[in-house]
């Protein structure tokens, strides 16, 4: 579980996160949504420790990253997996080497054991027979799958995804969304997903946090969305005619 308390982060005079608190439970798809510039990416990168926070705390199963020494912090980091918006696969390495990278770096497994683990991870994301290919030879959806496989290679306790389905066609986007949700449930991983894709919200949003102007504007599940009158979430989610119709239908039930 990840507990965020009164998280604040500024860049110069601009305060981007203005005291956000939220809990992210394991086994659920926790979604961070909000308009561009609402602070989603800064929030996620702060959770990952890529941005030092100004105040507040982030507890990873009751461990405060800021209170740990460098070695302990590195060890918590090894429990994290991350799927970046543009996959961030290492260009010079093959698919197999990409997925094997964290295993090479942090385990003492034999080559055979590592290859087995790579095959397992690639099979889990429904990707086989691409071990020898380079990232440049893969489609966007395949790159995302490899990124997920790399992220789960070390059996992470925490999985972070930044816009996991951006740039993908709707069908592949749904597949990737469901894959992340299945993996989170199967391995009981605490998953935090940054998105502004409403399909993802409706498809997998077990727990949704809406950010607006650096503050938490709303929190609930995808089922709560249809019944809330909170103007920020209604404005943000039900902008298209399609979603307005879906909302009406849900409220009528």
């Amino acid at each position: 579980m990840i507990e965020v308390r009164e998280l604040r982060k500024s860049f110069g005079a601009q305060e981007v996160l203005k005291g956000i608190s939220a809990n992210f439970e394991p086994g659920k798809a926790n979604l961070i949504i909000g308009q561009s510039g609402s602070g989603k990416t800064v929030f996620l990168k702060s959770l990952l420790g890529l941005y030092p926070i100004d105040s507040g705390s982030i507890l990873f199963d009751e461990r405060d990253l800021d209170a740990l020494d460098r070695k302990e912090r590195q060890s918590v980091r090894q429990e994290m997996g991350m799927v970046f918006q543009y996959s961030a696969l290492f260009d010079s390495l093959t698919v197999e080497e990409n997925v094997m990278f964290p295993l090479n770096m942090f385990t003492e497994q034999t080559l055979g054991e590592k290859k087995d683990r790579v095959d397992f991870c690639l099979k889990r994301v429904n990707l086989e027979g691409v071990n020898a290919k380079f990232p440049a030879e893969l489609s966007g959806g395949m790159k995302k799958r490899v990124a997920i496989a790399r992220a789960i290679a070390l059996n992470p306790r925490y999985l972070f995804c930044d816009e996991p389905n951006s740039g993908l066609d709707p069908r592949t986007a749904v597949v990737i969304d469901n894959l992340i949700k299945e993996i989170a449930e199967e391995f009981n991983i605490t998953t935090v997903i940054n998105t502004h894709d409403m399909n993802s919200v409706m498809e997998i949003g077990d727990h949704i946090v809406l950010l607006k102007d650096g503050l938490k504007a709303w929190e609930g599940s995808r089922h709560d969305i249809f019944h809330t009158e909170q103007p920020d979430i209604v404005d943000f989610v039900f902008t298209s005619e399609l979603f307005k119709t879906i909302r009406k239908a849900n409220r009528a039930e």
């Binding site: 990168k45 890529l50 994290m80 991350m82 970046f84 260009d91 964290p102 090479n104 942090f106 972070f160």
Partner: protein, 249 residues
């Protein structure tokens, strides 16, 4: 304002180097990376260094011969001049400047692209010291390999002079060989290789700093690449003066 920028940049560069030379997470992975960098940064440069060295050696011999028309000056002086020019200055300094262009821009653009495509963030999230993993093998590889390149350059430069002197008839082979051997100081080789190692560190560390700290997109990667070459070249020239004063002065 300019002074402020210089201090800030120097401070950030030193801090990055302190991160680079931290104890590696896993030596085996770093050793593999080192071998890859030797291949990429060193072996790949052999051809260009060889071609340039042969022709510069030839040109130095011809120009020296043309400028020493006095019949009282023996021909082997041409070979001495060629040897000293190649060993003391051309091979360590000029070849390092060429490598600053070739290797420096390669390092800066590779690291810059990794930065803007979040590959460096991916390493950090995994718990890898990205500065050390990406930069240390490059620095060590070039400090190990560049002296070999420079020795090759010295040999081929002198050989180029021999061929040119022979082909043009400006220096007889026997005079050239005599001149190359006459009054040879082995300390000059040590001086030259010391300079090379320092230049190798400057080229790779400055280019790595430029690439690693890129912020933005493709345009900024291009700017960083240019900045890397310019800064490394200036650093080489300044270091060359200081080392010459220190080691020969």
């Amino acid at each position: 304002m300019l002074l402020n920028t210089v201090f800030k940049t120097t401070g950030a560069y030193v801090l990055l180097m302190l991160r680079v030379f931290r104890r590696p997470e896993k030596l085996k992975v770093y050793t593999k990376a080192l071998m890859r960098e030797i291949d990429l940064l060193g072996l790949d440069s052999v051809a260009i260094v060889s071609i340039i060295s042969i022709f510069v050696g030839a040109v130095v011999t011809i120009q020296t011969a043309l400028n020493l028309e006095d019949p009282l000056i023996p021909d082997y002086y041409i070979a001495i001049a060629t040897r000293e020019s190649i060993i003391l200055e051309f091979s360590p300094t000029m070849v390092s400047l060429i490598l600053a262009g070739k290797v420096g821009s390669n390092i800066a653009s590779t690291l810059g692209t990794m930065r803007v495509s979040e590959q460096i963030d991916a390493l950090e999230v995994m718990g890898v010291n990205s500065a050390s993993y990406l930069i240390m093998p490059k620095i060590v590889a070039s400090m190990l390999y560049n002296p070999f390149l420079i020795v090759i350059s010295m040999f081929l430069g002198i050989l180029g002079g021999y061929i040119a002197g022979n082909l043009t008839g400006m220096v007889a082979p026997v005079d050239y060989v005599l001149g190359i051997q006459l009054g040879f100081k082995s300390y000059y080789i040590a001086y030259s290789l010391t300079k090379t190692v320092v230049f190798a560190f400057l080229i790779t560390s400055i280019a790595s700093y430029a690439g690693y700290t890129v912020q933005g997109g493709a345009v900024e990667v291009g700017v960083a690449s240019t900045r890397a070459v310019v800064s490394a070249s200036v650093a080489i020239i300044v270091a060359n003066y200081l080392l010459t004063q220190l080691l020969l002065g």
